[in-house]
């Protein structure tokens, strides 16, 4: 025969393996405990009539124990699955524990609320995605830092930006007419420059055509192709001057000496004026 009084006298006053003593309170580690507090009212061992709510793998169950089954420890607890709907679960607790003490009913509902809330929170956190922590490798950091500084030196940013902007101006990216962002004298100079370059190109073409006159007589069929080849050469040179991507190539692509002279003369004229 179980006697609740005797059980509590032993468990409560002498030794209980589930009891945890803190500075303030005595707590209970038994997983069937409704409140987690060590006292007679909420002790699952010293109460032959007891009910609690537990959660396993996201499903909540109502556990009920009555004095009638006290002689069968294997079937001591009646396990009732609670629906995931909170209000329905509350109703089931009400119907299962109809004539039970209101304290147990109330605490069971409170426990259910707590479990439902933490399940919701768990799902939310899962959906949010985990933040992944990445270690900082000091050695690679240091290496990258020096490489970055070196790359910046090699890039010669100001020069490459200047070249790109001039290229845009010369290729009429700002418009065929005089653009808004430029002085008139500079525009005139650029027009003059491009005119000179055109003349150069024409000269080149003349030279090559003269050189190839002999072959023209031999193969009349390939005449057009050869002429195309000539124009391709001039296009190629244009496209190279377009491509200011690689700074290391700049040294070879500096404008012709003629242009430099021109600029020099121009500046002189300006200073004389």
């Amino acid at each position: 025969m179980n006697n609740d009084e005797i059980v509590w006298q032993i468990v409560g006053n002498r030794f209980c393996s589930f009891r945890v003593k803190t500075n303030i309170d005595k707590l209970c580690r038994n997983e069937y405990n409704l409140t987690g507090i060590c006292n007679m009212q909420s002790c699952p061992l010293a109460n032959s009539q007891y009910a609690t709510v537990k959660e396993h793998l996201g499903v909540t169950y109502l556990y009920v124990k009555t004095a009638e089954r006290a002689h069968m420890p294997s079937k001591l607890w009646e396990k009732i699955k609670l629906p995931s709907n909170y209000t329905e679960a509350l109703k089931i607790i009400d119907t299962e524990l109809v004539y039970w003490p209101s304290w147990i009913k109330h605490k069971c509902k409170q426990r259910l609320t707590k479990i439902v809330q933490y399940l919701i929170r768990m799902r939310k956190l899962k959906l949010k995605g985990e933040t992944k922590l990445v270690g900082i490798k000091k050695k690679t950091e240091r290496r990258l830092k020096t490489r970055e500084i070196r790359a910046e030196q090699v890039a010669r940013l100001d020069k490459s930006i200047e070249k790109e902007l001039l290229e845009r101006l010369k290729s009429k990216a700002y418009g065929e007419d005089m653009p808004l962002n430029i002085k008139q004298e500079v525009w005139e100079q650029i027009l003059a420059d491009t005119g000179v370059e055109d003349q150069d190109d024409q000269d080149d073409q003349d030279d090559t055509e003269l050189g190839e006159l002999g072959s023209e007589f031999e193969m009349a069929d390939e005449d057009e192709e050869e002429r195309e080849y000539v124009s391709d050469v001039s296009q190629d040179s244009d496209s190279i001057s377009d491509d200011f991507g690689d700074i290391e190539d700049f040294a070879q692509l500096t404008p012709k000496n003629k242009d430099y002279e021109y600029e020099y003369e121009y500046n002189q004229q300006k200073s004389q004026n």
Binding site: L127, K128, G129, T140, L144, K145, R147, E148, R150, A151, E152, V154, A155, L157, D158, S160, I161, E162, E164, L165, L166, R168, L169, K170, Y174, P179, L180, N181, I182, K183, V186, Q189, I190, A192, D193, G245, D246, P255, D259, E263, Y266
Partner: protein
């Protein structure tokens, strides 16, 4: 008044003789207290006639407290960077992200409101560390590491930006990956710049480091351009590129940096 200036100027700390030091100190204390009393008396007399003067004095007299001498909060660093990025890109908006919404949800909001791009600045140790550029609505998404940020105002001889739409200069984006990355940057800016602003924004790739600069330019002659830096300047380094929208779980990576890919010093990806 009987206050010798000499005594007030000399600091007792500097005297090594203890007896002398104490003597001077006590003397200074007495003089200071006397001074205080006298000024109070004088003020009381003066302010008896005009209460406005008293009111004015009280308003001006704000004591230094811990609250109003608070140290500069460095957490602003990341936000400051985000704000400067906002100022670079025309028609951009800055919104403090908060923790309420996940990035997926924020992307949805942005798509619904027909934004073209979403930039996320992340911050570690009170410094901006990563910049995620999401092109909406279909991607690609690129994540860059931010280093060496320098605010425009800290650059010597810096200019001030105007609201004109800038030109975009993309240098050295030569590989296929480089082209896509270049497009990601180019799509942040309006296609038609306002040339009267004479502002140019540069993304220069050198050895896989992407240097950002912003200048105002002036054509001096047919051969020379004057540049004035507006700032800010910072360096980006590509971490990964995803084809679609930001999705770390099931997104398809077009390119992702791994240390083992650095087989030689002359191997570059952009």
């Amino acid at each position: 008044m009987g206050i010798s200036k000499k005594n007030l100027v000399v600091e007792p700390n500097s005297i090594k003789n203890k007896a002398k030091r104490l003597q001077l100190y006590s003397q200074q204390r007495i003089e200071k207290a006397k001074n205080k009393r006298e000024t109070r008396k004088r003020l009381k007399l003066e302010e008896k006639d005009c209460p406005e003067a008293k009111k004015e004095r009280l308003e001006k007299n704000v004591p230094n407290t811990q609250e109003n001498t608070r140290e500069f909060d460095e957490t602003i660093a990341g936000i400051e960077f985000a704000l400067s990025v906002k100022n670079i890109i025309p028609d951009a908006e800055f919104i403090k992200r908060g923790s309420q919404y996940s990035l997926e949800k924020i992307m949805d909001f942005c798509v619904n409101r027909e934004y073209t791009d979403l930039l996320v600045v992340s911050e570690d140790h009170r410094e901006p560390t990563y910049l995620t550029v999401i092109h909406l609505p279909n991607g690609p998404t690129a994540k860059f590491r931010i280093t060496r940020v320098k605010d425009g105002k800290k650059i010597e001889g810096h200019g001030n930006p105007t609201a004109h739409k800038p030109e975009v200069i993309l240098n050295n984006f030569s590989t296929r990956l480089g082209h896509t990355v270049g497009k990601v940057f180019a799509s942040l800016f309006p296609q038609l710049p306002e040339f009267e602003g004479r502002q140019a924004v540069t993304f220069h790739n050198q050895r896989d480091f992407i240097f950002f600069r912003r200048h105002r330019y002036e054509f001096v002659s047919g051969k020379r351009v004057n540049l004035q830096e507006i700032g800010p300047r910072f360096t980006l380094r590509l971490q990964w590129l995803q084809k679609g929208l930001y999705d770390l779980k099931s997104g398809e990576y077009e390119w992702i940096f791994k240390p083992e890919m650095e087989t030689s010093r002359r191997k570059f990806f952009l």
